[in-house]
């Protein structure tokens, strides 16, 4: 058990856990904060796991996640603006 595994476990529990909690409550716009946190911490977790396994070639995965998580957030900021403008999430009576 090396330091990178400990780092990965700590980041999972103290980073992605709270991100999931943020996502579990509130309006869809406030859940976006959880998604942002999950994207950033997720990159760190993936780097830590790659180092823990001693396999530098795994690092392509955090690289792709870092590039695409910004796009993922943009998807929601583009499509959720109606909810934000209506305050409490218009059209959410589904």
């Amino acid at each position: 058990m090396n330091a990178w595994i400990v780092a990965a476990i700590v980041l999972l529990v103290a980073g992605l856990g709270p991100a999931l909690l943020f996502c579990a409550r509130g309006s869809s716009a406030s859940r976006l904060v959880g998604l942002q946190l999950a994207g950033v911490v997720g990159v760190l977790v993936l780097v830590a796991i790659a180092e823990a396994a001693g396999q530098p070639m795994y690092l392509i995965v955090p690289l792709v996640l870092a590039t695409l998580s910004a796009t993922g957030t943009l998807v929601f900021t583009r499509t959720l603006h109606q909810d934000v403008r209506a305050g409490q999430g218009a059209g959410d009576d589904g």
Partner: protein, 85 residues
């Protein structure tokens, strides 16, 4: 490594529960995106970078975009019907 896998599995299970028990689809789409990141972390811990890469590629932008566009289309169809009545 085993503790790491156990922690990641528990987080994935919790994430699946949050996705399923979020009733409003537009909120569910955001949670689905986070669930994809949790799955990618689990796949990396299981030494499957190929699978983690494809989960990240599909789950980060493409599937959330399709889901959100379908939700918006259905919402706008309903709003148009409501205006007609």
């Amino acid at each position: 490594m085993n503790i790491l896998i156990t922690v990641a599995l528990t987080l994935v299970l919790a994430g699946a529960a949050v996705v399923v028990f979020t009733p409003v689809p537009s909120r569910q789409a955001v949670v689905l995106s986070v669930y994809g990141i949790l799955l990618a972390a689990l796949f990396m811990a299981l030494q499957a970078p190929d699978v983690a890469l494809s989960q990240v590629a599909v789950g980060a932008a493409v599937v959330p975009l399709i889901v959100m566009l379908a939700i918006r289309k259905i919402d706008s169809l309903r709003a148009a019907r409501r205006r007609q009545r």
